[in-house]
């Protein structure tokens, strides 16, 4: 909080202006020429990167991290995201991973819920209530944790037997087709340089492409006016596939992330990113 306390207000105004001006420009590009439209979106992203609204979420997350809360009136500063209690720098980039104390493979969000319960006495039901609403506490905390991995390489070797099993399941899920449209993740994400409408799609079978996607999550989504975490992203993909909604923090969502992060390993974290 302290080291940038003068920044946010100015940044906020700047962000709003950029959003308004370029939002209008974006609406116009859809009728323009195809590659031109993609170029314009790239430019728009670059400009927004200068004042990404996700930074507000990062600040909120930092405040939640450092403020004593819950029945135990404790902060999250001693939370162990995999590198040891209180060791936050670079931890997100190595998630999901196996945690012996819960005997589970956990991603950032499920681990944060564990910390809220153990350190602060805030139960899972309360911790996850309205998790999908813009500006939710978990969205903010996840964004903050991810931002503390900026510049760190994604490193999910899946060496532990339980991580290996999660990788195996995650890959299986990636190719799992079902439902009235026969979709799987692979339908949209196993070909190079393809788009849905104008939206470019990463190919998660290819390391460079997986990296370019995964290093920018969580991300501020202009179309949603909200930061989306990877859980939110995956659960919405599955909604679009016309499947029922998977449970938040469920094993399937964690295992899918093991597969994606494993494939993206070596990519240097830039989150929070900014997307359409």
């Amino acid at each position: 909080m302290k080291w940038r306390s003068a920044e946010p207000a100015r940044k906020r105004i700047c962000v709003c202006l950029i959003t308004a001006v370029f939002g209008a420009a974006l609406a116009g590009v859809a009728v323009g020429q195809d590659n031109h439209a993609v170029d314009e979106i790239q430019k728009y992203r670059q400009m927004l990167q200068e004042g990404n609204p996700a930074e507000l979420m990062e600040l909120k997350g930092e405040e939640l991290w450092t403020t004593a809360r819950g029945p135990k009136n404790a902060t999250l500063e001693q939370c162990d995201l995999g590198l040891g209690p209180g060791k936050l720098e670079g931890a997100y980039a190595q998630l999901p991973r196996y945690f012996a104390d819960t005997d589970r493979v956990q991603d950032a969000e499920s681990r944060l819920v564990t910390c809220m319960q153990r350190l602060q006495g805030i139960g899972p039901a309360e911790a996850t209530r309205g998790w999908y609403n813009p500006n939710s506490d978990l969205e903010a905390l996840t964004t903050y944790a991810a931002a503390r991995s900026k510049g760190h390489k994604i490193d999910v070797p899946a060496a532990h037997p339980r991580e290996r099993e999660a990788l195996r399941i995650g890959e299986e899920l990636f190719y799992r087709r079902s439902g009235p449209l026969d979709f799987s993740c692979a339908t949209c994400h196993s070909l190079d340089d393809r788009r849905i409408r104008l939206q470019e799609l990463p190919n998660f079978q290819v390391r460079a492409s997986a990296q370019s996607s995964m290093v920018t999550w969580p991300a501020y989504r202009v179309s949603q006016s909200a930061v989306w975490t990877m859980e939110r992203r995956l659960i919405d993909c599955i909604r679009q596939m016309r499947w029922p909604e998977p449970d938040y923090l469920s094993e399937a969502i964690v295992d899918l992330q093991v597969y994606l992060q494993h494939n993206a390993s070596g990519g240097v974290m830039e989150a929070p990113g900014i997307k359409r």
Partner: protein, 207 residues
């Protein structure tokens, strides 16, 4: 049975030298799916999560089935077609054009479900370039611009186009394209309208 494994090794070389996709992994994944979709109703489970044989096979073989599995899929899928009651396989291209842009309908869950009965479309533009005037067209599937201009609209072409939209896997086993007719996502009449959008000389696809 050896062939697909070699293929997978090649396909995955860029990421990791892993070639999963055996029945044991598939069963383990199904177990995780069971636990992870706890709010799905029995009906949703049956219609949206339970895999039919083709979906399970395409999943296992990563959409590249070995020849004997591919022929088995082709033979079974070629027996699935149903046609419009009036026998007309080419309908109204204007209706087909509308369906090509509709990407709503059929979303369930608690966060952002569609209202029941919301119009479903083919959403062709998500994956295909069709009328050149629509630039916001996806590229997952091939460009279909000039589809009718290139092929004409002789009865066998009309029939092929209808059946391809009805069940793409009757032609390409494990095709990425949804089997719109088989699943009842589009009605026979709506498929005929989509055929007209592709084949009618008046359609903007052929202008």
């Amino acid at each position: 049975m050896v062939q697909p494994r070699i293929f997978l090794l090649v396909a995955f070389a860029s990421v990791a030298p892993l070639a999963f996709g055996d029945e044991a992994s598939q069963r383990a994944a199904e177990e995780v799916v069971r636990k992870s979709f706890s709010t799905a109703t029995p009906d949703q489970w049956a219609t949206r999560m339970q895999q039919d044989e083709v979906q399970a096979l395409c999943s296992r073989y990563r959409n590249a089935p070995p020849p004997e599995i591919a022929s088995k899929i082709l033979a079974a899928q070629q027996r699935t077609f149903k046609y419009p009651a009036d026998g007309k396989l080419m309908g109204d291209w204007r209706e087909g054009e509308k369906l090509a842009s509709i990407g709503t309908g059929g979303h369930i869950g608690n966060i952002q479900p569609d209202p029941p009965g919301r119009k479903k479309g083919g959403n062709c533009y998500a994956c295909h370039l069709l009328a050149p005037k629509e630039v916001a067209a996806g590229t997952i599937g091939p460009s279909l611009t000039g589809f009718g201009k290139l092929r004409g609209n002789a009865p066998e072409t009309v029939k092929y186009t209808y059946e391809k939209i009805y069940n793409a896997q009757a032609f390409v086993p494990c095709s990425m394209m949804p089997r719109f007719g088989l699943h009842g996502w589009l009605t026979p009449k709506e498929i005929a309208d989509s055929v007209a959008f592709l084949l009618d000389p008046e359609s903007p696809v052929n202008q």
